[in-house]
């Protein structure tokens, strides 16, 4: 079943191999670029086929986790009767199906865009090699059926992001940014490794104790289906530490505080790379991992609360930083960090499917924004500073309109995609039922305030770039006169992504107040078993799924949105009814409260967009430095990114450099070099001792040969004579 899913990974790998090994020989940028794109198109087609196949099979309960066998990867016979047996296998389940659809789709568009964007670059085959490899690694990450496979993809995307960020490696700054990303990710990888080890230890011990020889503690399916049983016997501290270590890994990959510093610097790479990293791959892997192992995070309310706090805090912090940045890509980068914070906020409050929902919508509008900024940079001939832009709307209409649509989407304007996902996150935070209810209301207001700032800074960057008076540099005007609109291979992805940014939200989810009854949640029901939905919770608790689903009849058929939704509401249970109390507005009905909250946030966003429009069009002139004067230290605090880089530099980097230089002087120079050189000297002296033997005269060697032969003859004769004598 689904054996052809391997094609999805094979396509980009083949593309990477062809471009990597033969790229120089082909020596044709068009062929290299479109080959890479075609491979991704094949991958996307495979993903679509898997999706429709999966839907048409109508699998139930635990059957919805389909393992596609590959080959045996690691097989170790332990001391006991149990083998450590790891297959190279794929797991086709709702989560991986969802992820692979948008990953392959958006990656395809970005590849297509890159054929034009990178067309002047000498290293284009290399670029497409890395790009294809990146997507392949991301697919391994999300499709892997077990922890080691996920880890392969996890490290693979880390490597590829390093290669791509440092793509223009001749510039030292870019290479440094690549290293920064790599090293920051190492810190996160340390966390995820510890977390995964602990999971293995706990689950393996449980399976061993209960004689479950078939189950593997590394297999996602076995972990999920036995999650509650194992977690219930685990000590709470263990569960908390597993969750926190795993979350540290997610922080590294998904750029959450305190490991967010690499993502804004990832701007050093070519713009399509930024789009790929920020939208489709890499940063989503943290959210994916948390969702994949969601029972571990749900097991303990404290861990969920910490995740939510970090998420909301990061969202707030990144938004404040984004307010004052001038580089168009920097603003977008911090907005990504901020939006990722929203996703983790959703994860923290247990609404995993909402996190994935926001991942999807965010992927569309953020990819569109980044590709749009790439188009602007391309049109402005490598100008990135918004202070030197302005008035581009006239020259780049397609870029302008798609950028505006995506800005509205990210700001959460009804009825664009961002509105649905962001408002659902806010709603889920509001109704979160836990011991941290009071703090959660604070998180809600923080997130709302962040939404306000999001609308403002996105409006700022948009209007500053496209409207107002042209503030182009004299040099630019002299050389190019005015910017130009990009060609079709760049604008088509923009238009497709903008369309998706409009419609994807409404398709995947419609809240209750719009339908006039129960919410329509196809995505939630599709993701149910993988993302901790009601049926999923039953499976994790040890139910057999299909049987339980029959008992709970109505949500057995995920395609039936309304009925299933009803079931879901009930199954989420009493909590839901009890916990909208703190936010009960206007007569106390859930629907009206939700509606008013939604309208409120849309209103705030609109006001902010209009405000920013007023501020940054017309006679706006950055040289006046109005904001800087008005806000003083606050502005500086935000502009310098909360001084986090400086703090790290002083607290971690400098002592590290000092320590390693000392270590180098003591251990490397004295100890290791001493040993190595000493061994070499001893051997050299020995060689000098024996060297005279090698006279270089053939006859002399013959003499040695004969001496050896005679010696052997003597030895033989000696034993022969002894034998003969006795």
């Amino acid at each position: 079943m689904f054996g052809y899913a391997w094609l999805m990974i094979a396509f980009p790998l083949i593309g990477a191999a062809i471009n990597g090994f033969l790229g120089k020989k082909i020596n044709n940028k068009k062929i290299s670029g479109w080959l890479g794109t075609a491979m991704l198109a094949g991958s996307f087609a495979t993903a679509l086929a898997v999706f429709f196949d999966y839907q048409s099979r109508g699998l139930q309960g635990a059957e919805r986790f389909v393992e596609v066998p590959g080959w045996t990867w690691i097989a170790i016979q332990g001391m006991s009767e149990r083998y450590l047996h790891i297959d190279f296998a794929l797991l086709i389940d709702p989560l991986s199906v969802t992820m692979m659809l948008f990953i392959t789709g958006i990656s395809m568009l970005i590849h297509m865009y890159s054929t034009e964007y990178m067309s002047h670059d000498e290293g284009l085959p290399r670029f497409f090699t890395y790009l294809n490899l990146f997507v392949a690694m991301m697919l391994i990450l999300i499709l892997g059926a077990n922890i080691p496979m996920m880890f392969v993809g996890w490290e693979g995307v880390g490597l590829c992001s390093y290669l791509l960020i440092g793509f223009w490696y001749r510039n030292m700054e870019n290479a440094k940014c690549g290293m920064k990303a790599f090293i920051t990710n190492r810190v996160g990888d340390f966390g995820i490794l510890i977390g995964l080890f602990m999971i293995f230890q706990q689950f393996d011990a449980y399976f061993r104790m209960h004689g479950m020889t078939e189950a593997s503690a590394l297999d996602f399916k076995d972990i999920l289906l036995n999650a509650n049983a194992v977690l219930s016997v685990m000590s709470p501290a263990d569960a908390l530490f597993i969750a926190l270590f795993l979350f540290l890994g997610a922080c590294g990959k998904s750029a959450q505080f305190p490991l967010h510093i690499w993502l804004p610097d990832a701007m050093a790479g070519p713009t399509p790379v930024s789009a790929l990293i920020h939208a489709a791959t890499m940063v989503t892997s943290g959210v994916y991992m948390v969702t994949r192992l969601n029972p571990v995070f749900s097991a303990n309310e404290t861990s969920g609360f910490i995740v939510a706090c970090i998420g909301a805090g990061t969202a707030f912090m990144a938004a404040t930083i984004a307010l004052t940045q001038n580089d168009i890509k920097k603003v977008l980068a911090y907005s990504t960090v901020s939006q990722l914070g929203y996703m983790f906020l959703a994860c923290g409050v247990g609404a995993y499917w909402v996190a994935i929902f926001h991942v999807i919508t965010h992927a569309f509008f953020k990819a569109c924004l980044f590709l749009g900024s790439g188009s602007v940079i391309h049109g402005m001939h490598e100008e990135q500073d918004t202070r030197h832009m302005g008035g581009l709307a006239k020259y780049m209409p397609i870029t302008y309109w798609t950028f505006v649509i995506s800005t509205f989407a990210i700001a959460g304007i009804f009825p664009l995609a961002g509105f649905f996902s962001k408002d659902e996150i806010l709603w889920q935070v509001a109704i979160w039922d836990s011991q941290f209810k009071g703090a959660a209301s604070f998180l809600y207001w923080l997130a709302l305030f962040t939404a306000l700032m999001t609308a403002f800074y996105m409006g700022r960057v948009t209007w500053k770039t496209f409207l107002g008076k042209p503030r182009w540099t004299a040099e630019f005007k002299k050389k190019h006169h005015h910017p130009h609109e990009s060609h079709l291979p760049m604008t088509i992805p923009l238009m497709v992504l903008a369309t998706m940014a409009v419609i994807s939200g409404a398709i995947l989810f419609t809240p209750g107040w719009m339908t006039g009854g129960e919410p329509r949640e196809p995505l939630a029901h599709f993701l149910d078993v993988s993302a901790g939905g009601p049926e999923g919770l039953m499976l994790y608790a040890g139910g057999t799924g299909a049987m339980d689903a029959q008992i709970h009849g109505e949500h057995a058929e995920p395609a039936h949105g309304e009925d299933a939704g009803h079931g879901a509401e009930e199954a989420q249970g009493d909590g839901h009814a009890a916990h909208h109390e703190p936010f009960m507005l206007l007569g106390g009905s859930v629907t009206s409260t939700e509606m008013i909250m939604a309208f409120g946030s849309v209103l705030i966003a609109l006001i902010m967009l209009i405000l920013s429009n007023r501020r940054y069009t017309g006679d706006y002139d950055p040289k006046k430095k109005a904001a800087q004067k008005a806000f003083g230290p606050l502005y500086a605090f935000s502009y310098n990114k909360w001084y986090i880089d400086e703090i790290y530099n002083n607290i971690l980097v400098r002592p590290g450099v000092w320590l390693s230089s000392k270590a180098w002087q003591i251990f490397d120079v004295r100890l290791i070099d001493g040993i190595v050189n000493g061994v070499a000297k001893v051997l050299g002296a020995l060689g000098e001792l024996i060297r005279p033997v090698q006279t270089g005269f053939v006859r002399n060697y013959m003499l040695y040969l004969l001496a050896g032969a005679v010696m052997f003859m003597l030895i033989n004769m000696w034993s022969y004579l002894l034998g003969g004598a006795s």
Binding site: Q694, T695, G696, F697, V698, R699, M702, L703, L706
Partner: protein, 106 residues
């Protein structure tokens, strides 16, 4: 009759030793080569003698002589290549001294 066969083996040993001595004391490559031929012939003589020794009405093997033939063939091939090398050496230098061909040492 037996004496002749056994004596032949003694003779082969003597010839082999003389050949070895020649290889070791001479410096001219052609003469060294001839000494090697002498050693090969000594081995051939031993083979023929042993064949003679072991031949019986019951076991009529002639393999010793066949080995000797094969050795002659290989010796011929070796002489061809070896002399060609010596000729090539002679072409490059007027004096050919085996002790001067020590490039590996230098």
């Amino acid at each position: 009759m037996i004496d002749m066969v056994v004596n032949s083996v003694w003779l082969a040993g003597l010839m082999f030793a003389i050949g070895t001595l020649g290889v070791m004391i001479h410096r001219h490559p052609v003469i060294i080569f001839m000494c090697i031929e002498l050693m090969l012939n000594a081995a051939n003589l031993a083979l023929v003698a042993f064949n003679r020794h072991h031949f019986s009405p019951a076991w009529r093997t002639m393999d010793g002589q066949i080995y000797a033939f094969l050795i002659i063939v290989i010796a011929a091939a070796e002489v061809a290549v070896g002399l060609a090398i010596i000729v090539a050496l002679f072409k490059h230098r007027t004096r050919v001294d085996i002790d001067e061909i020590n490039f590996l040492k230098r």
